[in-house]
């Protein structure tokens, strides 16, 4: 198990951060949550560590989102979209806008479609995705096809709105 986790850390940490980033939209938090997920894996020593890590990470991200939502209700003076969103200059503006578009598009997907899409993008196999989402392996392809189509459509709609607004 130990060498599995060491190897998994080397091969999966980046994917896990990418996965988490698309959930919390803050890189530092994503990295911290990924670290915490690995620390929990060290303690719990799950049998199928890779899939387990993504599920634990997804749960932590969801808890974070709920906590953030609660905080936002209390901190209504915060007008920014995200409490951790810190525009850092013109050079990042375009990247920020692109990310905001993707974020909007992702948020238009059904939760399960979004989850399957992000898990696939993070390198999990259909079998691993099925195991941890409760879908039949055969249904993963259907879900992914739908998720991809809706993501592309939603992303293009956000672009159209942006053009219209200009």
């Amino acid at each position: 198990m130990a060498e599995d986790l060491a190897e998994l850390y080397r091969t999966t940490f980046h994917s896990l951060v990418r996965f988490l980033y698309r959930k919390v939209w803050d890189q530092e938090r994503a990295e911290d949550l990924a670290q915490e997920a690995f620390a929990r894996a060290v303690e719990h020593r799950p049998e199928r560590a890779k899939g387990w890590l993504f599920i634990v990470a997804a749960n932590m991200a969801r808890d974070e989102a709920r906590k953030t939502a609660r905080e936002r209700r209390h901190l209504t003076l915060l007008a920014r979209e995200s409490p951790d969103h810190t525009p850092s200059g013109a050079e990042t503006l375009e990247g920020d806008m692109e990310r905001a578009r993707v974020r909007q598009a992702l948020e238009q997907l059904a939760p399960r479609d979004r989850e399957v899409l992000l898990l696939w993008d993070s390198g999990l196999t259909y079998e691993e995705i099925a195991r941890h989402t409760g879908l039949a392996t055969g249904a993963v392809g259907t879900t992914l096809a739908r998720a991809r189509r809706r993501l592309v459509a939603a992303f293009e709609r956000t672009g159209d709105r942006a053009h219209a607004a200009r």
Binding site: M1, A2, A145
Partner: protein
């Protein structure tokens, strides 16, 4: 064969079909222009979706521990959480790497792979690529067994009032295995505290890491509750402890983080620099 459905085409493109199903699809595609056209549509869709997701990649290079980051202190729990997680990982990886170096005399309770019929490779310990690098690290940054042993005789035993155990005694007590420690950090002292063997290591500045290794068994379980109460298991969902009260003098910052890994309590005391934890993992690598 009827036309290939959308889900199967995506599974085909994603290389997730069983070999036999894949062969069937390829045979069908050879003869069906409609499905070939559909396949190209789905391929374009798949590529487009991946490209969109790529636009939402993390803005900076992902680093599992290194580099100066313009960190802004996010809610107060953030750094303690990251610290406890990082040290836990560093510690366990260190135990694993150390075991590889000294011929596998590692704590079986912590490190024995769980039986996993689906992954037979887990039965054979295979050091990761980092092993060689760590083993080849300069002696000053890698406390070796001699350093740990040398540290023991001059260590005091502050809490038990007994004679400090010799290195040989401690090694015998711990099953001829050196006490748990984080690789790459200077050892300040090694001493006994109750049932635990404690290795105290310097991280940097005034920050100290202590590893309380308890012997396995009911005695250790009985000895732990008071400490466990002070340091709940973060793995159970609780945040790592950040306490000011302690059974050893706290330093100026008064911060203390603790976490259990198996029979070992990992405790950090001192000011928490924002990039220190990252250097810690870098040392392990």
């Amino acid at each position: 064969m009827p036309h290939v459905d959308e889900a199967t085409l995506h599974a085909y493109l994603d290389q997730q079909l069983e070999p036999r199903d894949r062969r069937d699809v390829e045979l069908h595609l050879q003869d069906c222009a409609t499905c070939r056209a559909q396949l190209e549509e789905e391929r374009a869709l798949s590529i487009r979706a991946a490209a969109i997701l790529e636009r939402a990649a993390p803005p900076r290079e992902i680093r599992a521990g290194t580099g100066p980051k313009p960190r802004r202190l996010w809610p107060s729990i953030r750094l303690p959480l990251a610290w406890a997680a990082t040290v836990t990982i560093a510690f366990v990886m260190g135990r694993y790497l150390e075991a590889g170096r000294i011929g596998g005399s590692l704590d079986q309770r912590m490190m024995t792979p769980a039986p996993s019929p689906s992954s037979p490779t887990t039965a054979t310990p295979r050091p990761p690529s980092t092993t060689a690098k760590t083993a080849a690290a300069p002696p000053r940054s890698q406390p070796n067994r001699d350093e740990l042993r040398a540290a023991a005789p001059r260590a005091a035993a502050p809490s038990v009032g007994a004679e400090p155990p010799s290195a040989a005694t401690m090694n015998a007590d711990m099953g001829a295995r050196e006490p748990a420690h984080v690789p790459g950090l200077p050892v300040l002292r090694t001493y006994a505290s109750g049932e635990a063997t404690v290795v105290e290591q310097q991280l940097e500045g005034g920050t100290v890491i202590r590893l309380y290794e308890y012997p396995p068994g009911p005695v250790a379980q009985a000895a732990r509750p008071t400490e466990r109460a002070a340091a709940p298991r973060a793995g159970a969902g609780a945040a790592p402890e950040v306490a000011t009260r302690s059974d050893a003098p706290a330093n100026a910052s008064g911060e203390r983080l603790a976490r259990y890994v198996g029979n070992t309590r990992v405790e950090i005391e001192g000011p928490v620099g924002s990039d220190s934890l990252e250097r810690l993992l870098e040392k392990v690598r």
